[in-house]
Symmetry: D2
Subunit: 388 residues, 4 copies
């Protein structure tokens, strides 16, 4: 079997982008609970993200959300982040919170609204040049609530046209990743509901357009690792939005709801050359910490990804291939489960310590007094949330 | 076959409670869109509900939500409603929007929080005496997001104790209805997730406690009409919260997503003596009009219930029984489908006109200029929504 | 609004292929119940299919399943069908009942098994030349039951290679349609689980390869009409396998479980030019009549499709476009619902009578004595089922 | 934290019943694959079950299925089992494979059919006296495929009456456990679809009637451990049918699809005093080994239950309670996950060896040559399957 020492060099290649909005307040339509210490500014969000990276060395980048994270001077923001030890990552557009987008944005039947939505994305690309971001991530809230409310076909065609304009503006090193989502906030149809639609749309655009797979955006029972395999095979897996779910788009901590599913996903990532410094696949979190503290929530998240990646790397590929080829159902499954059930936590702690980190980053963070300090300091102002 | 004239007397017995909050703004965690003409006060909500009743004669009562609809003088509110031609109906408690309820209310591990939640319900019962309401409806947002976060067993026991205190305060003519919900806002477990739990809890309380069935609160694929049948059989169906859904608790207009399901539900209601003036079953709406206008949304909703009730009443029970007894699968199904596919709209229009109503209430409302008038009048103030 | 007379010419263009196996016995893993009158031979199946066509003029073709419907002389079979008034249609391959396919067929890791599966399809193409069939339909049971059992990526690549060999053998007028299925008989992964995979595979093959959409082969909650729209938009919707379901691949009578869904599907078919004599889309049934009689089950099925097609054609496109463009959510939905709630049965009966058919084909069939006659005649021999 | 040595005494109390039918062939409606070495008789099935017990000491009983396992002399069968080191356990009735049950059994509208189904259960009770079995397990295939096909209410009432007759025949030490199932083989409604229905029915019967929870018989997303908690709280959890699933009632090896779910279930079992020698809860497997070998499949299954039980027992209840009481979401979750991620396999191997067993029962079995021996010996005759 593959041993932990075999995978040590690979572990250092792990990098997970943190979403700036994970540090702000979030909740459900019923209530958003506030938390002491929640950032009031993008600088405080970046500071918190950098804290996660300080304790884990797993999170070197922060994804931005425009307009929530808009600033006057992106060069200064970039420098601010660099001083904190992180860089600015993927830029996320937002066409779901302006009143004008009530019935759609890039798919809207009204050209004026569609123009506005396209222009917003062009502005995002401009920002990306300043922040040094590679990826423009587009998640559309577009959709309808009632059969007949919209013409799905016309909307799809307009989406293609809108994306074409946005794609044309991309720089040579920039990419567009199109996220799909099964439902919510639209409850009858969404305009990019599944990987097939995202794939068809980005394939029509060109090489710089890829699919973004959010692990919470599928129908019940969907075999997500199959989609991972397929998109890697087709050369179109651009990025992950990691989180977990029991029901819908619950946006829980990655690995919390079904750790074995996360393992299977990472096994396919490794299998399909989606892991490592040279991979085109961006690993990001997209989560909401509705009831738990946010910084430790993010620490737990990146540790979960790291622990599961380690297990995925431990899979004995030769033994697996042999069992698969022999039609040895139980033997092949056992090879996989052996890696999954291996407790990698001790080895990872030692590895972290060898790199100057605390063996248990969560415990170290909790003991550091940081949480109490920011709770005391960050009084007054408006806590960040969805919308700011 | 049963003819329309056979069912005319029964149609007059239909009464559907409208939720006050359906006239306020609602939305998703992503965005709440405002609408011109949205009420600013409970009086304006009642006025709008009365408008729905004026056009349909189907909605004689308005359900209240405490504290959203709190007033100083409930007697005056009751009189206000009476003048508008409606009465105050079910009182809905709310233990999900106060910060103290972040980790539960009637199930909370902290007795002080639990006390507060119980007291809130006792206050609701006091209000019910003033408003003349029969039913206290309890929907709990209680639950957890992560395995281990709470002790489900202890929470269930505390729920039983809390409900016991509330039940003890009910007047002789009052009832408690306990609503269940599959998930949301909690994403790992909810404390009353299914009809079985609600049934076990209300059975332990006594005769005045019943189950409230919200048609959007089930797992995918659940046969809801079976539950309707079972609860009627067990004598424990207290009320319906009608709405419809394609995915989760979408809260769309009743009958919009799956009209045939609404038909099957109403067939079981009729079959189990749940329909009519003497039935203990309260029919209520619980919907959100996120993107459509609210008054016409409610008009459409009560009309959908009425049309489907008419179809359910049209089912030829004798022919159905005969086919069922004979093992004639297709014949029995045909009897049901024959009623479902019957276009009752013309007959219902004539029946309405015979009662002094417009044959097409929706068209009449839209032509009345009411929507334009309230949009012009209701300027300034704060539009109602979840929270006020 | 569109009137029934407007759509009369279009109704005559409706043609639905019947599956030969729908006339044989079927059931679940728990039990297959026999029925008096079940065919023993392909000739009797064709005779029954022709009976359905005699009463409805909706079912001019019979789909074959190889090897279940293998004969020595296909020319004779073709002539037999022609004498009965029907033609031989789509040929369905079968790589799931031979012991050798336990771990896969076109995806198998063993080249010898894969060769056999490919050769089976080449034989099917040979048969198609003799039967005059246009379409080779491939539904794969390939998949695995346990994580790790197979290498999903390798299987996908081998599938592509296998399909390439089959595709190369197609005649100029022949097509390959690749069906996808969410799960069953494999319970962890299936090799063609979703439309995206089928689309990616057939796109790689060429113009003569299309997707087959079985309405029962999706995850819970999937918006099927969206997929219909998308595949028509992409020019890749080759055929439908119609049936209905409450839970999984229940294979119930089309339109029985959710008639409104069938309506929405057909609305998108019409919207996307998928209906009519010139359309490339083949309409087929793929159902199991486990507990109901088979011939009347098929009659009911084609009538359901016809009635729902009529409603879909009745949609007032101009009014719909106007409401959609105006953002009139309720108005647009009303246009759709108006067509759905229109009772077309009387008009269709009159239209049938004008064409020399019984107005109520089901009643006419039941009164004809055919069912009793075949029950009496078809004694002895082995009733057909899955396997023969 | 709880240490492995703390839980050693408890591990010895684990006992899991094996289903006789797991050793026979099984499959899907598409195909049942045979396997070399499959038993031809109940004696061979018992022999195989005893083999599983020989290697694991976890499986001291074999559940029977009547009529599949009918013999002339149950006393002799009991003795045969005892000689093999196992006892005869739960008796499973079967009212789904006789033609007369096409439209139901205990719920049938025809009294004669219902009489026959009741009598079958009385016969099962007679057999139980001879086999020394405590539990009569009733899983009903009863249900309908089409709305209207049956009168659900009447069926439910007849079910209650039928169960009453059966219950009355139980001996003082005997129990009736009623299993529920979401769907299949019925595809519209099943007569015992959920735990609520089973609970209501068995509560009406009396103390000797309990609920049987099959882990594969729920709607997608159902929180099964909540039901476990609730039934234990209500004193009505009689037994488990363990298996796992990704989609429907897949009947895969327990723990294979979602090991974390199995862990959570066992945590609630332990929490609710459902584990141990004095518990009223019977642990059984109910699985199908469609593509894997059967004896090793069962060995893997009982090991999975044992490993996960060990993890559940390792949960540090004090730390968990403290974190739960403090509202420490992440801390409480961490306590749970710490137990789940602990690799108990080494400790369990040592514990087994201390009891004279092989440390790795699976490897020991595979090395024993048993599989090859029975494959060579069991030639001729008819392999067992569903039906014999």
């Amino acid at each position: 079997m593959t041993s932990f020492s075999d995978i040590r060099p690979l572990l250092a290649e792990q990098a997970i982008e943190l979403p700036s909005w994970a540090f702000g307040n979030s909740g459900t339509r019923f209530k958003v609970f506030g938390t002491p210490g929640t950032p009031r500014t993008i600088q405080e969000k970046i500071t918190d993200a950098a804290t996660v990276n300080d304790y884990t060395q797993l999170a070197p980048a922060v994804a931005l959300h425009i307009p929530w994270d808009k600033v006057d001077d992106y060069a200064a923001l970039r420098e601010f982040a660099a001083e904190k030890g992180v860089r600015l990552g993927t830029v996320n557009s937002n066409t779901f919170q302006d009143d004008v987008y009530k019935f759609g944005s890039l798919t809207h039947v009204d050209d004026a609204v569609r123009r506005r939505a396209i222009d917003h994305h062009l502005e995002c690309i401009d920002i990306m040049h300043e922040t040094g971001s590679r990826d423009l991530k587009i998640w559309l809230a577009d959709g309808t609530n009632y059969p007949g409310q919209g013409d799905m076909r016309g909307r799809q065609d307009r989406l293609a046209a809108s994306l074409g304009e946005i794609y044309a503006r991309l720089g040579d090193e920039q990419r567009l990743v199109l996220e799909y989502k099964f439902f919510e906030p639209a409850f009858y149809h969404t305009d990019v509901p599944d990987w097939g639609t995202s794939y068809a749309q980005v394939t029509a655009l060109g090489e710089k357009a890829m699919v973004c797979l959010d692990t919470g955006h599928h129908a019940p029972g969907t075999n997500i690792e199959f989609i991972v395999m397929q998109l890697l095979r087709l050369g179109k897996l651009g990025s992950f939005d990691f989180n977990s779910r029991f029901y819908a788009d619950d946006d829980l901590i990655v690995g919390a709801a079904d750790p074995f599913q996360l393992f299977r996903i990472l096994v396919e990532v490794v299998r399909g050359d989606g892991y490592g410094a040279d991979s085109p696949v961006a690993f990001m979190l997209d989560q909401c910490h509705n009831v738990e503290d946010k910084i430790p929530g993010q620490i737990r998240s990146v540790l979960n990804v790291q622990e599961m990646t380690a297990r995925a790397l431990l899979v004995d590929r030769d033994a697996l291939d042999a069992a698969q080829s022999a039609g040895d159902v139980l033997g092949a499954n056992d090879v996989l489960m052996d890696a999954f059930y291996t407790d990698v936590r001790g080895d990872l702690a030692a590895w972290r310590e060898s790199r100057g980190l605390a063996g248990d980053p969560m415990r170290a963070y909790l003991a550091s007094g940081t949480q109490e300090r920011i709770a005391a300091e960050r009084v007054g102002g408006t806590q960040s949330g969805w919308g700011a």
